[in-house]
Amino acid sequence: MVALIVAATVWAMSFPAEPPADFTFVNNTEVKSLDPAIVTGQPEGRILQGLFEGLINLDAQSLEPIPGIAERWSLSSDRLSYTFHLRPNARWSDGTAITAADVRWSLRRFLDPATAGQYAYQGWYIKNARRYTLMDLKPGDPVEVELNERPSGALPFARGKILFGTYKDVVTLPANRSEDERKSFTVVVEGVERTFVTGQMSGKEACKQVLLDFREVGVRAADDSTLEITLESPTPYFLSLLGFYPLFPVQPKCVETYGYPNWTKPENMVTGGPFKLHSRRIRDRLRLVRSENYWDVANVKCRTIDALAVESAVTGLNLYLTGEADWIATIPSPIIPEILAEKRPDFHPVPELTVYFYRINCTRPPLDNKLVRRALAIAMNKQQIVDTVTRAGEVPARSFVPPGLPGYHSPPGPGFDPDEACRLLAEAGYADGRGMPAIPILYNTDEGHQSIAELIQDQWKRSLGIDVSPQNQPWPSYLASQRTLDYWVSRAGWGGDYLDPNTFLDLFVTDGANNETGWSNAEYDRLIKAAASEFDAAKRMQLFEQAEAILLDEMPIIPIYFRVSKNMVRTYVEGFYNNPLDTHPLKSIEVDQAAKRRMFGTLPAREESEARFSERHGEAGT
């Protein structure tokens, strides 16, 4: 027994504490993956912006596109073709050059349906990219047939051998007991008609998949350092998208040698950005070290960065207060008013490009009546919500598109007006709420959402006399209910991916995957479509403004408030800027270690030191 306890103690001590990193931040959760083609979340983005780099970077403060792997670029006069000139000194972390072929290879992999990237649509602005991902083929199309066997000498996870041909047709073979559904493609290869069946079975010619010939997709490597990208239609925010992690290039050799997901292991991973992966402990910490082969290594100030996967906001705050973390991306809501009142120099909430709103199921009477929807919207006192529930200085929303997008001004939506709300409801035939069914407000289980729903329940009951019941569901069920329109009113949030109103307004086109309200308006669809092909920037914004005016008149959604960022960053951290996309490139971050030592006495945290006890007091009071 005693031996066991001693052994356990020794064992517990054998988990080594690493020396603290130059910069440590709380990343809220374990990242889903470190493969930029696969992931979609913000915690993943924080890390991937350090590990990889796009053709374009976004300036840490202004979010303007600035040179990344590409040192310069030009746009054709029809605004459809970009030519990127890669830096001659752009290097992977293993020291090899980043070539235009590598970037093309990465884009192809990103768009490949076999990669199953959830963000693949971010690349569909490129000509024919959508058809490539969705295997959308017409007879006569040039196609590439990927065979199961690899070309001789290929790396273990390289693509199969490719045959080029002309597509004729496809038949789906029914599933039977031993095999799943498979497809049989007829393709003319070098004048000979051949049939390829997907899967591993012998017999007929087998293949992995048949896709549109990638040479039809608008990505071309003219030479080692020149990449041409042709778009479907002029896309003013395309450069911003290139600065967003899904389109970041990865090293072909590394991915083909180890395959997904093993290429993301610290011992295998080769990166193209300012940092490389040093170590990774699941749900603990992920350590980045500076990549000495990075082209701009002189301007990367941190040698090591730790990202902590701390789920609890309170624990995150504790780590921050004791100096073990220098940046926390969120703080527990209950203490926000207290922190704001203290006017701390390290907490500056700024408006973010994120809107909190309610979806209304427009297919369900009486919510299919615009008057009812408008009545619900203007009976909502949003000021009260931000003052009593969220309390971090959120802005009550009268429009769907958050303010702060360059060149765009949302039309004013209706404000709080309970009398008008009563009149509208009466006009719709439900005077004083008579005849209105009880309306459940759906939200995913979360105290914050619950408080808001309860407040709105109270407001609607008071002003309109209708019964409301908050209804919570766990995250997966909540998403499914929204998707299948199995709800009345549902809480939702949307964050912009790039600085353009399109990232918000294209949600509500008819049958859009994220519409989820059943709302459809032909004029709205026409305006969004027209904006996509409008050359003139000012006119384009006008089209979006007209579209949003329709949205705010019809009210398939009720915007509630615009979120604010809740970053708490030590004053000794430089190069960190609060911005509307809440993105913070690790490259620009610099820690004044002397100032940090002054604040915490000695180097805090995990360092071996007995003298620490007496010197750490100052913090609790700051």
Binding site: E18, K32, I282, P474, G493, R616
Partner: protein, 305 residues
Amino acid sequence: MIWFVLRRIGWIVLTLWAVFTISFLLMHLIPGGPFDSEKQVDPQIREIMERRYGLNLPLWKQYRNQLYSVLSGDLGQSWRMEDFTVNEIIAQGFPVSASLGILALAWALALGLTAGIIAALRRARLLDTVVMSIATVGVAVPNFVVAGIMLILFAFVWPIFPVAGWGGLRHSVLPAFCLGLPYAAYIARLVRTGMLDTLGQDYIRTARAKGLSSRAVVIRHALRGSLLPVVSFLGPAIAGILTGSLVVEQVFYIPGLGGHFVQAALTNDRTLAMGLVLLYTALLSVMNLLVDIAYTVLDPRVQLD
């Protein structure tokens, strides 16, 4: 005895299979998949992703595939942490939870046994009342309250321990203390009851009559008999404590299995949840078997058949 053990192992295998089947079906009642997020994807991309996870197959085929892979020792790729297999996650998390658990358990046993014996020997006196009141409070007060108080005292007011994290003994003291406390309280109560029960038995009177010292009577005879309820409590408790505490691991940000349990459930990580449920079931069954075997050692009157 051997026959008994073999039969029990057979039952354990059967239990694991039943747990697997029930968990599989329950998880399938939850809508959605690993790619669920606020931003919906194009239905065609959704289909591609479902195919990647084998969700397009009929239910019985999914069941068959997962059962085969579990039987071959491969718990699959985590749905939520896609870079890792469930085997890797358990391999990293289990040692953390287990080493913390053993520390907590050692501390719980030391405190619980001492307190229980003292209370029993000082029955109905002040010391007994005090110890048992503390034990009652210890059982009743939830972990996170104790954790909060400990953090305020020993990480902020008197900063001798780190607020959170894992790496070395300094990081384990507070969590092990908080994790072990309710167990200690429970053990103290069990030992006290068991001791009082045994002290009244005939064989104790015989031992005393033979002239054994009071100390020998307590340690060798009374304690041994009163350990039975503690052992039957410890079996399942060890299984629970080794697989990690949900609350303590979250508060102290410890990368053990407890956090994985919670997150797997919250994020619909079916493969990870399945792996952890099977691990817990296996541990629990094995611990119960060991408890039954321990009974024969502690109490010669118990026979296994």
